[in-house]
């Protein structure tokens, strides 16, 4: 096997993971060795995965091969590595390395037995996601998909003493299995007329002739949508992300939910033949709903990790919005524009993995040091944890889509594709949906900025609001280095997006058959012109220079401040300011709660304990949002399923005779069926 053979890389990565897991188990009583072996091995394996991914990205046509052949049953697991798989493998590799290195530090004080368990599950999860990205057929894909689900559920339930963790893991498992059921049904529909279950046989332009194509699309969209956390299938996500240990949350948010996006790209966007307009419309609408509701719900969260989890829903929404624009453009026969939108979507996949991984790792450090994820009890950490604060601020600016960081570039591309699509199509749907999508994307970005002013400001600035925050210390280098790496990548993509954007443009172009150029995505100045003259250009280095000069001017003008700054306590209007008078996260997001009350449906309860009517001795205040989807969608559904199960109990009588009767009836039915069909 030469170096051009990606199977060798994949097998080597798998072997490394196995060895790492075995070492972790063998040294489960020596956590110092086990920890380094498990997560160090995972980091090396992730780097190998990245090597395979780069091979896939560079390959002109899909690289295929076999990984495993079981002679007796004839089961063959093959791989197929094209540019799309390669791209997702690279995303997996970057985040895998960062999270694995971080975990070496994070799990330093974990219980020995638990550590071995986490180490094994972590390696299994990474391997399973890798297999999902390279599977070449339905069987291998579903096997890897299921393994991925089980490993994730195990990791979510790691801290099972907390009542929330097993509950979150169960919710995740239940919804995931419904999703997997949808995928299996979808593959069955596709395979009914195909010679084999290989993707090359069941996916492709040939599917266009299938009468059940629409049903298959919906099944796949739902199945992948569960994993991606698309609203209304998102309910597991805000439970599972906070319940899992922080590095696992980073991995889930960065890579696991992207497996859903990979599936949507592989199957829904290009795998089922040219998509009709309605499919693109559905994906676009679901993306818009997910991003707006995701950020609105995120604004009301005061648990740092839950807040980040809702932002994952928002970003999945942005990714889906762009994918929807791409699908609509494809159905209107504009592959160049489709390539642009899909490139924007893919770039946001990478960007979200980088900044959300960074934010979760930072949040993990904060939670580990302060002992609470509730930002109402944090504050002042910029002094106690200066590096973590700096990295978190960069991540916060990136996710808010501010210039000179990577989030701005991908959102800029999404805006461009929306406007170009509008400009070049007279279709009524496009003319309404695209500008509305643009306005909603603007709203989402601005709300995300508001949310992260809150998340960063309340967590890291002013005075500590609790003992944990007051006594926090900066985390170790092993936990800081991965954050530094991810922050640098965010900054690098933000400042020099050209090469990456043009590479992704070629990738998306090859996906939709728009030729090598895809969209005319040039290098240093990102100029975008599928057919019309350039609509707008973006040169981030130039813009950065334009900002740097006045920044220097500001420093010069205010140079006195550099030498003479007087320090004084903040004026408290005659009273003393302290932790209890500081502005809270609840207060910060209150205006938005009142403005969007129709969506949040808040309830509040104020009780006063008073001795005289004028002076209350104690005031209790409780405010809650109504969990709309849980209450109006999932609760009736659960009740219905339970009621149905209750009825079904009648046939489960526990009598052996009855069961024998059922077997008899089934055999008879099958015989009749065979006879009748010929």
């Amino acid at each position: 096997m030469g170096t051009a053979e990606p199977g060798a890389w994949i097998l080597l990565a798998g072997a490394t993971r196995l060895a790492a897991s075995a070492t972790a188990l063998a040294f489960r009583r020596r956590p110092q060795i086990g920890r380094v072996a498990a997560f160090g091995g995972a980091a090396i394996a992730s780097a190998l995965t990245g090597g395979a991914g780069l091979l896939g990205l560079a390959a002109p046509s899909p690289l295929r091969g076999r990984l495993f052949v079981h002679e007796a049953s004839g089961l063959t697991l093959g791989y197929s590595l094209d540019a799309l798989s390669g791209f997702f493998l690279v995303v997996l590799a970057i985040l895998g390395v960062a999270v694995a290195v971080y975990s070496v530090g994070y799990f330093a004080h974990s219980r020995p037995g638990r550590l071995a368990f986490v180490g094994v599950a972590f390696n299994v999860l990474l391997g399973a996601v890798e297999m999902v990205f390279v599977a070449d057929g339905a069987i291998g894909f579903l096997l890897a998909w299921e393994l991925m689900t089980l490993a994730t559920a195990a990791l979510v339930a790691t801290e099972h003493e907390e009542p929330a963790a097993p509950r979150a893991a169960f919710l995740f498992l239940a919804l995931s299995h419904v999703g997997t059921g949808g995928l299996a049904a979808g593959f069955f529909l596709l395979a009914s007329g195909a010679p084999s279950l290989a993707f090359s046989d069941i996916l492709g332009p040939g599917v266009a002739a299938l009468p059940s194509r629409d049903a298959a699309f919906l099944l796949f969209l739902a199945g992948f949508g569960v994993k991606a956390g698309m609203i209304p299938l998102h309910v597991w996500l805000p439970e599972a992300h906070p319940a899992a240990p922080s590095p696992i949350s980073a991995l889930m948010s960065g890579v696991l939910i992207k497996a859903g996006i990979y599936g949507i790209f592989r199957v829904c966007v290009v795998g089922l033949g040219p998509p009709p307009l309605a499919w693109g419309g559905v994906v676009l609408a679901l993306g818009a709903v997910s991003m707006v509701l995701g950020v609105l719900y995120a604004l009301m969260q005061h648990d740092l990790k839950r807040l980040l989890a809702y932002h994952s829903i928002e970003n999945i929404g942005i990714i889906l919005l762009a994918a929807g624009v791409g699908m609509v453009s494809l159905s209107l026969g504009r592959p160049g524009l489709a390539a642009l939108a899909l490139a924007a979507s893919l770039l946001h996949v990478l960007n979200h993995a980088l900044f959300k991984g960074l934010l979760f790792l930072g949040a993990g450090a904060v939670v580990a040091e302060c002992g609470t994820p509730n930002i109402e009890h944090l504050g002042g950490l910029v002094r106690r944890m200066p590096w973590t604060a700096g990295f978190f601020l960069l991540g916060a600016m990136a996710i808010s889509g501010l210039p000179f960081l990577n989030g701005f570039v991908s959102e800029w591309l999404v805006f461009q594709s929306l406007l170009l699509g509008f400009h070049s199509s007279a279709d009524a749907f496009v003319r309404i949906a695209f500008p509305v999508g643009g306005a909603l994307l603007g709203l989402t970005t601005a709300l995300a900025a508001a949310c992260f002013v809150k998340a960063f400001g309340i967590t890291f600035l002013a005075a500590p609001r609790g003992r944990g925050a007051a006594e926090a210390r900066e985390t170790g280098r092993l936990m800081l280095a991965p954050q530094a790496g991810l922050a640098l990548l965010c900054l690098a993509i933000g400042l020099v997006p050209g090469p990456l954007v043009s590479r992704l443009g070629r990738l998306a172009g090859s996906l939709v058959g728009a030729g090598a150029g895809g969209a005319g995505l040039e290098t240093s100045v990102v100029r975008i012109a599928p057919s019309a003259p350039a609509f707008d250009g973006l040169s981030v280095p130039l813009a950065a220079a334009a900002l740097a000069v006045p920044l220097a001017l500001a420093a010069l003008l205010a140079s006195r401040a550099a030498f003479a700054v007087r320090r004084a306590p903040t004026w408290g209007c005659g009273g003393a300011l302290g932790a209890e008078t500081e502005y809270t996260a609840t207060a910060f997001s209150k205006p938005l709660m009142m403005i969007f009350a129709a969506i949040y449906r808040p309830t509040r309860e104020v009780s006063r304990l008073e001795t005289t009517p004028y002076f209350a001795r104690e005031v209790r205040y409780r405010s809650e949002m109504e969990p709309t989807f849980e209450r109006f969608v999932y609760r009736p559904l659960t009740r219905g399923v339970l009621a149905l199960a209750g009825r079904m109990r009648v046939i489960q009588a526990g009598s052996l005779h009855a069961y024998l009767g059922y077997v008899m009836a089934l055999v008879l039915f099958l015989v009749v069926l065979l006879w009748w069909r010929g």
């Binding site: 910029v382 002094r383 601020l393 808010s400 889509g401 501010l402 210039p403 701005f408 800029w412 805006f415 400009h423 003319r431 500008p435 643009g438 306005a439 994307l441 603007g442 709203l443 970005t445 601005a446 709300l447 900025a449 508001a450 002013v453 400001g457 600035l461 002013a462 005075a463 100045v525 019309a532 609509f535 707008d536 250009g537 973006l538 040169s539 130039l542 813009a543 334009a546 900002l547 006045p550 500001a554 003008l557 205010a558 006195r560 401040a561 700054v565 007087r566 320090r567 004084a568 306590p569 903040t570 408290g572 300011l577 008078t581 500081e582 502005y583 207060a587 910060f588 209150k590 205006p591």
Partner: protein, 314 residues
């Protein structure tokens, strides 16, 4: 304006122009407001004196404040000044058109707002938090209207690059298409919100229950405060220039001949003066809206912007 040194020179010149003239606009607005209220008001050049005085003073910073507090005003100022390089003013081209267009412009202003709001939370006073919360809320609510109105202008001209946009508008001449009027009205409401004028915010108040922007910068002092004030003034002049360039393309210089430049400058001054008068008129005849009525105003702006789009393309 294609060679890099020329573009850089142009950018510096335009930024200097904005920096020099922005305080004058502030003074003018105050003087006109005073005239409406039959007061004499501060003298026209008072904002310059304020800036000079503040820049020479040592800033007092809270004991709880960190480097974030110092960075806020500087980034805010720099982002406003950087945005001047993207907007055509006297000449029908922007200095750094290659850098980006409308979206970068909006992004730079968002960067400044983010920096200032973050800094406001650093002093630990409830006022800062209140101001930051309100500013981010109003900013978020104004964003869809701003985007949609700018998109309408951009889509009808076929470009999102502000220089290109103004050139095409100037070629086409003044149009009283309903779409233009509606989009201009929407942008004007956004201008009132972004620059903190009545009915959204009252720049002259220090009453804790009503202030938005002022609450956010309450803890800034000395040179820090000077940068915030100057940055806000530049941002306001910038918005007015943008509004004038997009919807009133009269007299914009299309060549570098001294006479056309003089006409362009005079035309711009006239348009900004007119807009300032309009702002003062609105400020003097309206009461400040209760904060929770502001979303309704922003909804009106969004509705206008959407109608602008609809009348243009359906």
């Amino acid at each position: 304006m294609t060679s890099p040194p020329a573009a850089a020179l142009f950018a510096v010149a335009q930024a200097a122009g904005f920096l020099l003239l922005a305080p004058l606009l502030r003074g003018l607005l105050r003087k006109m407001t005073a005239a409406f209220q039959l007061r004499q008001g501060p003298r026209l050049l008072q904002p310059y004196s304020d800036l000079v005085k503040l820049l020479g003073k040592e800033p007092v910073r809270s004991t709880t404040a960190s480097w974030v507090f110092a960075a806020g005003p500087r980034v805010y100022f720099a982002s406003a000044v950087a945005a001047t390089a993207l907007v055509p003013a006297v000449v029908a081209s922007a200095p750094l058109e290659a850098a980006g267009g409308i979206l970068l412009f909006v992004g730079l202003l968002a960067l400044g707002r983010f920096a200032l709001a973050t800094a406001a939370l650093d002093a630990g006073s409830p006022f800062g938090g209140m101001g930051a919360s309100r500013e981010m809320t109003v900013g978020a609510l104004a964003e869809p209207a701003l985007m949609l109105a700018l998109f309408t202008a951009g889509l009808s001209a076929g470009s999102l690059n502000l220089g290109e946009l103004v050139r095409r508008t100037a070629e086409r001449g003044v149009s009283i298409h309903p779409s233009e009027v509606l989009a201009a009205a929407a942008l004007f409401i956004v201008l009132l919100a972004e620059a903190g004028h009545v009915p959204v915010d009252n720049p002259a108040t220090h009453l804790e229950l009503t202030m938005i922007h002022e609450a956010m910068v309450l803890e800034c002092s000395g040179a820090d405060l000077a940068l915030v004030e100057w940055g806000s003034a530049v941002k306001e002049l910038l918005f007015m220039t943008l509004l004038a360039g997009l919807f009133l393309p009269i007299g914009v210089a299309t060549s570098l001949a001294p006479s056309t430049l003089a006409v362009g400058l005079a035309a711009l001054a006239g348009k900004v003066l007119g807009l300032a008068l309009l702002v003062v008129l609105v400020e003097s005849t309206n009461a400040k809206l209760r904060f929770f009525r502001v979303p309704e105003l922003m909804a009106v702006a969004l509705g206008l912007a959407f109608l602008a789009l609809a009348t243009r393309f359906f």
